[in-house]
């Protein structure tokens, strides 16, 4: 099995003094793996995710994702990389309020220049899969939190990314909706989707992840290849 993510001595500093917010860190995530990143607040979980997503660059070390040294890419290439290889899901959904659900989901496909019809077909397929077809023409503002997060997941998957990143995907949801989203992620992992999931929620980590790491002050303090428990 090839590694989708490979961090070699990667570190991120926001200021020159003191210890780095993250790392230096060596980490490899294999294809098909579901990795849960846990740790206390401020331990560097989001920072790690941003490095992997190409939203931020390490101050030291190398970050290789899907075979590309993304710490060396320029802005334009990074954007291409993100829309082709990465799907992202956020705690607060980050849907565009002035676009319909269907338009939100299609957007990343359209950014790649995909044919309108193909993008629409892929979006329909995902909405069907995630059970949000009846909301296709609604605006995100009218949906419940759980429904919004489903839309966000559909949007993240529209380009069939090599890697799905989720930062506290259940953090803003009530228990029932959180459960919904957890099921969805388990489902995706079973389908072979490589997944990195940041969460405080140990139950979520146990449910979805094939492996859990814990960060403390930006350092790896625990790495289990636990068997997924249902």
């Amino acid at each position: 099995m090839t590694d989708v993510i490979e961090l070699a001595g990667a570190a991120k500093r926001y200021d020159n003094a003191g210890t780095p917010a993250l790392g230096p860190l060596d980490l490899a995530v294999a294809e098909g793996e579901a990795l849960a990143v846990t740790g206390p607040s401020g331990s560097g979980k989001s920072t790690l995710l941003n490095l992997v997503a190409g939203l931020d660059k390490p101050t030291e070390g190398a970050v290789t994702v899907a075979g590309e040294r993304i710490d060396r890419l320029g802005e334009h290439a990074l954007a291409r990389f993100r829309r082709e290889r990465i799907g992202m899901v956020f705690q607060f959904f980050n849907l565009l309020d002035d676009l319909t659900v269907a338009d939100n989901i299609r957007l990343p496909a359209q950014l790649t220049g995909a044919a309108r019809r193909k993008a629409a077909a892929r979006a329909d397929e995902l909405m069907e899969l995630l059970g949000i077809t009846r909301h296709a023409r609604a605006y995100p503002g009218r949906l419940s939190g759980g429904e919004r997060q489903r839309v966000a997941v559909a949007r993240a998957l529209v380009n069939r990314p090599a890697l799905l990143l989720a930062d506290e995907p259940t953090g803003a949801l009530d228990t029932a909706s959180g459960h919904d989203v957890r099921e969805l992620l388990v489902e995706l992992h079973r389908g072979g989707q490589t997944l990195v999931l940041v969460t405080h929620d140990m139950a979520l980590a146990r449910a979805c992840a094939s492996r859990t790491i814990q960060l403390v002050d930006g350092r790896l303090s625990l790495d289990t290849r636990a068997e997924a428990v249902r």
């Binding site: 939203l55 931020d56 605006y139 995100p140």
Partner: protein, 779 residues
């Protein structure tokens, strides 16, 4: 701090000013540009408003310049004339003579109770051998240090130019020490005595005539040789100014209106977008009044700085323009009139305060809950239809997303649209005004368009100062012989004879200036407002004012008398001729037996060099007593050049202020959307796509602004010009009115897009560079 009340309030204001750097800069720069434009326009309006009167009043100009014969009246007796009843001030006697056809007056210094000269360059003549020239020679080849020799006497020591001085009443062409003047006198040009007078009443021709009578009665008969009235000088000075003043006023008004609109829209936009922050301030206990004060202060701090800079900039830019204007008009003001520097910033401050107060009061009244809710609650409804529609366009997604986004903020979009539309109106109007101005310039004195001019004698009109030995030269040249020589000369394409003389016209008291033509005068045709140029005897072409004064129309007949001849002439055309207050006529010479051509205006055949032609013709006509002048390419009227540069300057300023308005709106918009843009970038929107998103969000506004602005500017030009012409007492010919052509209008329409895109370029770059991770944190 007392201005801002509590320390907390001051901190809020300071952080508001500091955090919103773009907005603060835009307010400051917009105020600066607007105030600078207003200072320039305002001071030029003041400077060109009766420039002669200003200069004349400042210099205590001479109402009457009189020449006396020193052989018949003593110096003491002349001094005594200054004490006559009705004379308020006098100066002289100064010895006067003629030097190289120039009226040379001996004065020991420039200052005097009457005709207090303005030394423009160099210094006054201190000793023999030095000469100070009239400021009208400033643009001539003569410079300080040039040596002028008496004509026909190459061995004479000559006079060295040491300075240039301005006399608004044109009392002399040049000055030297009194001793030098006496030394230069000869039998041909004897010394006469110049006296300068100011009178209690001297505002009309009649009063001047009475004043002159008073003088001549006070001295032995025959000793008053000649007098010159300031009214004649004023007349010729004002005439140049009259046609152009309305243009300046139009620019000034345009500049001020633009400034008001842009500055108030920028400031109200700035306050309007701070609503959420206002809500938070109120939630933590700020009173409505404190909120109002905080927001007015946030606008006023940069505005005051901008206004102060604008006054400085306006003064710096206005000085060279004013100097040019003064040169052209012969005025004396070299600095911005003080009250312009006071009134413009005061008015600007008032406008800024009101512009800030209105939205600030609204903010103060806003309910706290509402204010906090602004921007929080998910937007629904607004502009979503636009996204649906734009999404269907066959364009890249980033572009269609941008195109639809203005509809989410209708008010801000309207403000931006207003800024672009006004910028386009200003550009369109200013371009039209400049073209019209140039057309006015090139429509003046069409006879100057001749390639070669032959002067065949007679007094060529002399507007210079009173010369003691005037009208000496009048050699008997036979114009018929000169005309025949021109006709026979190879290379002549067409020519006509021309003379200017005073005539009387039935129905107009006083004299009317007649220009009479012999031969084919089509090449010297004035621009016609209606009708056609004279094509033969019995026809007359007149300016607008003539028609108004006589109550005539084209097709009517007027009786024109020159000497013993009275002709009934049919009016065939209305010409664009503003000379002589519009009291002039153009007619064929036939029928006026007393008229002889003074000059022949010649067009040479294509390919013939006017200079060579002139040289060959000179060899033939010089022996006949005539002289030949080749035209060295007509120079642009100085005033037109000045106005052109003002027009360009003001247009640039207005357009950049409009651009700033757009910049401000786009920055606000981009900042508000920074989170959405961050999301798009996280989803893989590339920097280029982000730039095109932001640019296309203003492109529609640019197109619409252009579509609104160009026709409005066009209509404004079409409305304002005739009004301006009317103020100047003339109709306007098509060459002045119809100055736009289709490609130019299309280009101006694109100006709207250019303004919008330029304004959006900077924020779009920011949006593209903004760190996505940071943008996503904004929640």
């Amino acid at each position: 701090m007392s201005l801002l009340g509590s320390g907390a309030l001051g901190r809020v204001v300071r952080s508001g000013v500091g955090r919103r750097r773009v907005q603060t800069t835009v307010i400051a720069v917009a105020c600066m540009m607007a105030v600078a434009a207003a200072v320039i326009a305002g001071s030029l309006i003041v400077a060109t408003n009766a420039p002669f009167d200003h200069a004349f009043a400042k210099q205590h100009g001479a109402h009457i310049t009189a020449q006396f014969d020193p052989a018949r009246v003593s110096t003491a007796a002349l001094k005594e004339t200054g004490r006559l009843d009705g004379v308020t001030a006098s100066a002289g006697p100064y010895p006067t003579t003629t030097f190289n056809e120039l009226t040379l007056v001996g004065r020991s210094g420039p200052h005097s109770d009457v005709d207090d000269l303005d030394l423009r360059a160099g210094r006054w003549a201190k000793k023999a051998g030095e000469i100070v020239l009239s400021a009208s020679f400033l643009n001539s080849p003569l410079k300080i240090g040039s040596v002028m020799k008496a004509s026909g006497d190459a061995d004479s020591p000559g006079l060295t130019v040491v300075g240039f001085a301005l006399s608004s009443a044109r009392t002399a062409d040049a000055w030297a020490t009194p001793g030098q003047v006496r030394a230069l006198a000869s039998k041909d040009s004897p010394v006469t005595s110049q006296m300068l007078y100011r009178f209690k009443s001297a505002s009309s021709k009649g009063q001047i005539a009475a004043d002159r009578k008073l003088l001549s009665a006070a001295v032995p008969s025959g000793s008053l040789l000649a007098t010159q009235s300031y009214l004649d000088t004023k007349h010729s000075a004002d005439r140049g100014a009259a046609a152009t003043i309305p243009f300046l006023v139009a620019f000034g008004v345009l500049g001020i209106v633009m400034s008001v609109i842009i500055v108030s829209s920028v400031i109200s936009g700035a306050v309007g977008t701070g609503l959420r922050r206002i809500g938070i301030l109120k939630a933590i206990g700020f009173t409505p009044r404190e909120v109002v004060r905080a927001y007015v202060a946030q606008a006023l701090i940069p505005a005051v700085a901008g206004i102060a800079l604008g006054v400085v900039l306006g003064n710096v830019l206005a000085v060279p323009l004013l100097a040019d204007t003064a040169q052209v008009y012969g005025g004396v003001s070299l600095s911005v009139t003080w009250w312009v520097d006071v009134v413009v910033p005061a008015v600007a401050l008032l406008i800024v305060t009101v512009a800030a107060l209105v939205p600030a009061l609204r903010a103060g009244r806003l309910r706290t809950v509402e204010a906090i809710a602004v921007g929080r609650a998910p937007r629904t409804g607004r502009g979503q239809w636009a996204h649906r529609t734009a999404g269907r366009l066959p364009l890249p997604r980033a572009v269609t997303y941008g195109l639809a986004s203005p509809f989410t903020h209708p008010v801000r979009t309207a403000a931006m649209l207003l800024a672009v539309a006004f910028g386009t109106v200003a550009a369109t109007f200013a371009v039209g005004l400049t073209s019209s101005l140039n057309a006015v310039g090139s429509a003046q004195d069409p006879q100057d368009r001749a390639d070669v001019t032959v002067v065949s004698g007679g007094a060529v009109q002399n507007r210079g100062p009173l010369s003691p030995g005037a009208a000496r030269r009048a050699p008997s040249v036979d114009p018929a012989k000169v005309g025949a020589a021109v006709k026979a000369q190879s290379g002549t394409a067409s020519y006509y004879g021309m003379t200017r003389t005073d005539v009387t016209v039935a129905g107009i008291s006083g004299s009317v200036e007649a220009t009479l033509y012999q031969g084919d005068s089509r090449s010297g045709s004035y621009e016609m407002i209606s009708g056609h140029w004279i094509t033969g005897a019995g026809q007359v072409v007149v300016p607008t004012r003539f028609l108004e004064r006589t109550g005539t129309r084209i097709g009517d007949t007027v009786r024109v008398t020159l000497g013993k001849d009275t002709e009934s002439l049919r009016i065939v055309g209305e010409a664009f001729d503003t000379d002589n207050d519009g009291l002039s006529v153009h007619a064929d010479m036939a029928g006026f037996a007393g008229a002889r051509p003074q000059v022949f205006q010649i067009q040479v055949k294509p390919g013939v060099s006017p200079a060579d032609y002139a040289a060959k013709l000179a060899a033939v006509v010089r022996p006949l007593g005539a002289d030949v002048l080749a035209d060295e390419g007509s120079q642009q009227d100085g005033m037109i050049l000045v106005l052109d540069s003002i027009a360009v300057l003001l247009t640039l300023m207005l357009v950049s202020v409009a651009g700033l308005g757009v910049l401000n709106s786009v920055v606000l918009d981009t900042r508000e959307r920074v989170h959405d843009l961050g999301v798009c970038k996280a989803l893989g929107m590339s920097p280029r796509q982000t730039v095109s998103l932001v640019l296309s969000s203003v492109a529609g506004i640019g197109v619409l602004g252009g579509l609104i602005g160009v026709p409005l500017g066009f209509a404004l030009h079409g409305y304002v010009l005739p009004v301006m012409g009317h103020a100047a007492g003339t109709g306007l010919p098509p060459s002045v009115l119809d100055v736009y052509d289709a490609p130019e209008l299309v280009l101006l329409g694109l100006a709207g897009i250019a303004i919008a895109l330029l304004g959006a370029l900077l924020p779009s770059g920011w949006a593209a560079r903004a760190r996505t991770a940071t943008a996503l944190r904004t929640e």
